[in-house]
Subunit: 402 residues, 4 copies
């Protein structure tokens, strides 16, 4: 019998999809449950899939792989879509696709399936990532394809003994992993409405945060965080710790009217305590260790990198080439950044590095420090720097005379 | 007798320069005192210049011109050097140069003079801006040219009856105007040291800010702020009010290891309550009103714009062309942004616009809203969007097989 | 009865479309025949449309509008897709759409129609341009929608008394206007095959071009060509003359493996004698008249501009903003360029301008010319220019020691 | 005794410099003669240096190193300054500096010296490259520093028994290596004057080139040329052969009004038969093998790369990072390009590659080829592609109504 591997979350859509795929495609369905730090009970999800009708259920704790191979490369790029959003969802999708393809190959499945709708960015990320990794695999998106409304879906579930989540619905649509938590829908769809407190789970409101600041020191090696307050820490522990500390101090909330790939704007809210904090600290360390040329040119690399992730092109030749650029720049991004967390703020208040390009002797105005800088060079520099302006002013008549 | 027009601040350097220029160049010195919002006593400064030996002293209140013609164009560009600094000093220099050149022409002076040293960015901005406006004028930078140490300068002042500022020295070097206040030197030169509270004057520390948030609404027209909380307000009053409100809430401090034009890194601190707040609000309104294409392309325009200002090229053909681009985009940047200020935070919590491109009907997942968006289009879109990836995967062997 | 306005070329596809649209949509069809310099017999085309069944037929000579409002703005941008192709087809589509919309409004039509297939770029340009101008209009693409193969189409034509072009088929697919002629299909689809001579109509092969060179002088005003060999000439005459002169000298052939918007590569050949020549001359004049800053930054504007046109986004806010930038830069692009045409070459051999920023006194090494350039400034300049490199070398250990 | 290593060309300036350096710095002078393909008699140059007074003379044939480590990386970047000039001089300078530093370290010299004047780009390239490699070395530029006019220099030579080149002066200033030949000064300084035939040595005029075309096939591996007409060929032989073949066909002349780093424009002429030809062929192969994303983004990398070389920043962290990007993209740039050379033209007329992304099945309109491309996908694609335009048109009132 033909096989389909389904990315299974345990929610209503993918639960219904197990049954629907079996019927529609006359196939066996294999569920794949991936943990990228949502904090869900994987054993329960795995059992649920099998109970509904999956012939087999895979569980993968992909938290470390997620950080090392997806989130940290994005951190080195300071990747924030539209300068605002650290791409938490966009980063987990290619990893899930890689795992889907791995299982599909192992199980000789003809297709993979995912639970994305036809209006978001995630469908693009799933479809394109799978295509990049295994162009021969079919890709099925049940929710995009079936004609059921929400009510019909619930009816379908009831008729097929598929457990329906009970109790009051979460008024929001949530996606979360170690790099952040996204909150959509409900009252948030009106961009004039302030997000209510109930939307947030990882961060307290700044008003309720502690009345005294928390100072932390993050140490980076080649652009990657390796220690907290001087103590070496593996990636998952480090990011979980930072999510907790920053969240407790009310830091990490994002409110964004965002341009989706599929041509529309949407209003998104996020909680990204660890990722935002790490990016801030990493940017600051780059200011200390990168030359001006590298720093200024890297901005356009960073923007393109963030757009690629957002647009589902993680597995693409351009992404690989951008990574090569970024990795080269990170060789000197070593050092420690000191951050003050307080009631919603995270401010870098100190930074040091063995690769610091800040030279006190050069920068200071103080007289008691020996001065390497030749004041007279400045005049020569300015003469040539301003020469094109001068020629232009003479030729095209001075501005002032207009 | 030959005449020199000196940009006069009332401080020691430019006071000494009045005497020094007279002697060295055998010329009459005309002082120009410009108010761009430093809050200094212009009458006192004017009188001081004349007492020291200036044959004439001009006073110009340039606050409104500064905002309208320099700061607000930069706001439309969201201009922040290295993504961090709103360029307060960089924006006032070209205005002062324009005024210097105006007076020089009126007085038939052969030269203008300024008090910049040979190590900072400002000397470049002065020299190049004057050149752009009046390439025939000589430019003299006494502090860069004279061979005096600080002690020798004080001796020179004493010998020449030039008043020396008394009392405890400010441990920092300060420059300020309506768009921000920069703080350099002293303990701040060590980038690992947290800036002490005494460095700040415009902002309270977040710890000392009020325990309840302040909400404000800023209204923009073509990218320019025109009203506060629904009340029309002229530029100077609006910016002063925002500096006060935001400063009282502890918002606006910047700590930056910055790449100077003259080849070195320096550690800079700034207080920019109003300018940072306005840029944040303006960026958010752009997210609502600009198409994705414009928004994403504008980033590279903005970066170049900020670099141009920083590098002293305000009066340059490239700056004019960038302005034309930016002004065109701002035609639709109309609307109101709601900001919550609280203990160092300024968060945009709502935005609305007659030119909003956010369409609830398109973006929502909710079923009770009529759905213009054709779910089926998504599949076609993704097929073509992913086609280059597919062809590449087939030709260059799928990634997964590596 | 409902009305549809069809962009009518006189060829088989749009001829069949007249009948097909009438039947399928139960509507009256109004034909619009636009002349953008293809050199076709508009009267004949108009009559043919009516004979086949159009209730009315519009003829528009849009040659001058095409050059003034579409091709010349692109010339100011030196717009060449992928650095190679002057976008002749991409530029005519928005104009045709504008005319379609004009007629549709005048005739109160509910839809416009065009003859594009589902695989090229033109369908995108038509659909998006019409949407931008009149989002309320329906857009119908019969060839994309009908299920007919080429043979079925010919059968359909025969059954419906639609004239079928007789004689030997042109082995290529052609589109042409004043800005160029594109040649696709047939043997050209193999990118290893050299284009045969029979593909070309506007250019002789370099081997057959005259044995003596032709020199011409083109004069530009604000980036627009206004005179040939010192004689003022209106746009259409000037471009037609250049197409002839350059074509006779074998200049203007392009062979390009090109990335279509719809995700595939295609091999395209073009003949663009006038447009290529004008772009070459215009670029050269910009080298003489633009400052380095403007020239270097304009490259990224130009690339985006070319992509926008190619991608069907002529009527978009980003295009408007780019135009504003470009127009500002062109104020000084005045002057005359001398070009030598010879057997496939067009070489700029001289250029002059009242706005020339080339200053013989500054550039020359010759001793008999007075030297404004201060040789000593160079040393100061280099010291600061190289300072970041020096600090980096000291901190991160000199390269040579690796 | 202290030692200085001088980059020695055998010309008047560096010959005089041997004596001048000895006297002025009371040092021993070691001459370094590097062959990067100028075709000069190195043995003669070496002997001349010693005769004039150098205590030692090094000869280095650096032709292969020049191509492999400098010119070919630039080829992979399609590096052309201002889109025009393949940077022949700019590429050889860092290599000469590397060799200077090697000798200086071996000989424990305190300084290196070069013969650049104070007005060109080369002084910057020398000074900054040496600084990057050995920040502790002093750099001396005798011609920039001595106060001698040309006549005084000749007198100085005469008095010191330094041979003065006899016969009619070359009316031009020449620099040449395997990557090209630059020609400056004399009548060329007037940008309106057509370069006279006597300026050129490597290329015949198109008029005098053969009357029948020459076809060649160049094979690339990872972006590097490895074979000519199917025959493997080492770099130096391949480039020399191409310089000859292309030059004989009149191809490779460049006429450029160029923006120097030191703030001025200059008019430059070049002969670059091999380098221009290789770049053209390489670009074409990239069109066949790179995805659109990579190709389009690489343009901005290429521009920055060319500027870096021009500006003397070959040895810089940004250059290293750009190289990493470029090398990654070149992994698939394999294949063969067929070029037709004829009377000044070099036209690519065919290209093939095992990594070709051109797919006949996808691109063709022909019906006899099976069609993988789903025509219906196009409609969905265009709907979403045009959606932002549509929303913008509805919100901001359709363009046509203006």
């Amino acid at each position: 019998m033909k096989k389909i591997v389904l990315a299974y979350s345990g929610g209503l859509d993918t639960s219904v999809a197990i049954k629907w795929l079996k019927e529609k495609y006359d196939s066996e369905v294999i569920a794949l449950c991936v943990d990228v730090g949502e904090g869900k009970d994987l054993e329960f999800v795995k059992a649920k899939a099998e109970k509904i009708g999956a012939i087999k259920s895979y569980m993968v704790d992909a938290q470390e792989e997620f950080l090392k191979d997806y989130a940290f490369p994005a951190l080195k790029a300071n990747a924030m879509y539209e300068g605002v959003y650290p791409l938490s969802s966009g980063l987990s999708r290619p990893l899930i696709c890689k795992l889907l393809v791995d299982v599909a190959k192992k199980e000789s499945a003809f297709a993979v399936a995912h639970g994305c709708t036809g209006k978001g960015n995630d469908q693009v990320r799933f479809d394109v990532s799978v295509t990049a990794l295994a162009p021969e695999l079919e890709i099925i998106a049940p929710v995009r394809e079936w004609p059921m409304s929400r009510e019909e879906e619930i009816d379908y579930a009831a008729k097929n003994d598929i457990p329906i989540p009970i109790g009051k619905d979460n008024p929001f649509s949530i996606d979360q992993n170690l790099w952040g938590r996204s909150i959509e829908c409900g009252v948030l769809e009106d961009p004039w409405v302030e997000p209510p407190e109930e939307a947030f789970e990882w961060t307290v409101s700044p008003e309720k945060a502690p009345n005294t600041p928390t100072y932390i020191e993050i140490t980076f090696e080649k652009g990657i965080p390796i220690a907290l307050d001087g103590k070496q820490m593996p990636p998952v522990e480090l990011v979980k710790t930072l999510n907790k500390i920053a969240g407790q101090n009310g830091f990490g909330r994002i409110d964004h009217v965002e341009n989706r790939l599929v041509g529309i704007k949407s209003r998104e809210n996020y909680e990204c305590p660890a990722s935002l904090l790490l990016i801030k600290a990493h940017q600051d360390l780059e200011h200390l260790t990168l030359t001006k040329d590298v720093l200024h040119f890297k901005y356009c690399i960073e923007q393109k990198y963030a757009e690629l992730i957002y647009d589902g092109l993680w597995f693409s030749p351009l992404k690989d080439a951008l990574d090569a650029f970024i990795d080269k720049t990170q060789e000197v991004v070593n050092g420690t950044v000191r951050v003050k967390l307080f009631k919603g703020n995270a401010k870098v208040v100190g930074r040091k590095s063995p690769n610091s390009l800040y030279d006190l002797n050069l920068a200071t105005y103080a007289e008691d420090v020996k001065d390497m800088f030749d004041h007279n060079s400045a005049k020569g520099f300015i003469t040539l720097w301003g020469l094109p302006t001068k020629v232009n002013a003479i030729v095209n008549s001075a501005k002032a005379s207009k």
